[in-house]
């Protein structure tokens, strides 16, 4: 899932300082699961903004609501009236949610309340770790199901580097060395031969380096009705 963290209150306030009526929009999917932008967090942010602006002598009228997914038109289309009534919207969706709202409501001021951090999973409650870099060409089949693009600090395809010590990455004693994990996994499965092949220079164009990405599936597209 997408993992995010809330921005500091001060920063969010700076983004909406000219607005009097503010709507905080939570999202009921990824950011709910990572406790960053669900209905609860939207409520906490709304009351925090109300209290804070009141204490500073310029109270804002802040309300909140939550949609199931900010990243799909059908969930955000019904917000037209509520968004039309406010001066600014704080989206507690990920970067996709913020942009979906901004695209759907071009006249509205939509600002982010979260920093979208990474694609990852909660390894335990309250602890999230990155797992996927969305690079567009998955090599997990060669690396024992452990991604060196997302989990090696240097994105090595032929690791580990010399900085792997006691199973940890040299850049951070809390980060396991991805290549140590890959090695152990493949050794346990008796598949170390996979590592003997030199992985050639990668085609990064399937990732962000190739420019913004797009997928079109003609089999899924709806037949366009003639313009009336």
């Amino acid at each position: 899932m997408i993992v995010a963290e809330q921005k500091p209150l001060e920063e969010i306030k700076g983004l909406i300082n000219e607005a009097n009526k503010v709507l905080v929009v939570g999202c009921g999917t990824c950011v709910t699961v990572c406790f960053a932008g669900g209905d609860k967090e939207a409520g906490i942010l709304a009351t925090s903004l109300r209290m804070n602006t009141k204490l500073e002598g310029a109270p804002k009228d802040v309300t909140h609501l939550t949609v199931q997914r900010q990243c799909e038109w059908e969930y955000i289309d019904p917000l037209r009236d509520q968004i039309g009534e406010v001066d600014a919207v704080v989206s507690l969706g990920c970067g996709i949610g913020v942009q979906a709202l901004a695209e759907r409501y071009p006249e509205a001021i939509i600002v982010p309340g979260l920093n979208t951090s990474f694609l990852g999973l909660p390894i335990e409650q309250g602890v999230w770790e990155e797992r996927c870099a969305a690079c567009g060409e998955c090599i997990l089949g060669l690396t024992g199901g452990i991604c060196p693009i997302a989990r090696c600090a240097k994105q090595l395809l032929n690791g580990p580097c010399g900085g792997s010590q006691n199973g940890l990455c040299e850049i951070n004693p809390e980060t396991p060395c991805a290549w140590q994990l890959i090695y152990e996994k493949l050794a346990a499965q008796n598949r170390l031969h996979l590592l003997m092949e030199i992985q050639p220079a990668r085609n990064w164009s399937t990732g962000r380096d190739g420019g913004p990405r797009k997928i079109t599936r003609e089999d899924l597209r709806l037949v366009k009705k003639e313009a009336e």
Binding site: L9, K40, I44, T47, S48, M51, N52, K54, L55, P59
Partner: protein, 154 residues
């Protein structure tokens, strides 16, 4: 009991039904004195403490919030009180960002037999709030009310 400027105090105590809620009850039975401003809200376990409800208490005028759970190691649900303590620390950070003193919220641990300690905790919390003064949000409310009276709308 009032704050220095004469406004009556409001302190909300979120009490676990297995310990401090019973302790408060026992304090009553034993005729122990504790500040009447303490408004007790029973919760099934402090692990159920909701950050949003604490913030709403402050937003609606509470001057202080006590959270009282079982003694550490004695939680009816294993570790709800330990989770609550961390949550209270988090709430302190939140209200600091909002502009309230983090001392306005505090975690206590009591057993159901500790009526005296409950009364002491309520008294010390009340004293702390008296020293801090009323919730500035209430003061802001009053100031805005006064402004409206001085300059009627229209």
């Amino acid at each position: 009991m009032n704050t220095a400027d004469g406004t009556p105090l409001k302190i909300v105590a979120f009490c676990c039904r297995y310990c401090s809620y019973a302790a408060a009850d026992l304090a009553g039975v034993l005729r122990l004195r504790y500040p009447a401003e303490t408004r007790i809200v029973q919760i099934p376990c402090t692990g159920r403490l909701d950050t949003l409800e604490v913030l709403h208490a402050f937003e609606h005028g509470a001057d202080g919030v006590m959270v009282a759970g079982c003694l550490e190691g004695d939680c009816h649900f294993q570790e709800g009180n330990l989770n609550a303590r961390r949550r209270v620390e988090h709430i302190k950070q939140l209200i600091l960002q909002i502009g309230l003193e983090p001392e306005r919220v505090e975690m206590f641990n009591l057993s159901s037999a500790m009526a005296r300690q409950f009364a002491d905790a309520a008294t010390s919390m009340t004293q702390r709030i008296i020293d801090l003064g009323p919730n500035p949000l209430r003061v802001a409310d009053r100031d805005q009310m006064n402004q409206m009276i001085e300059k009627p709308a229209g």
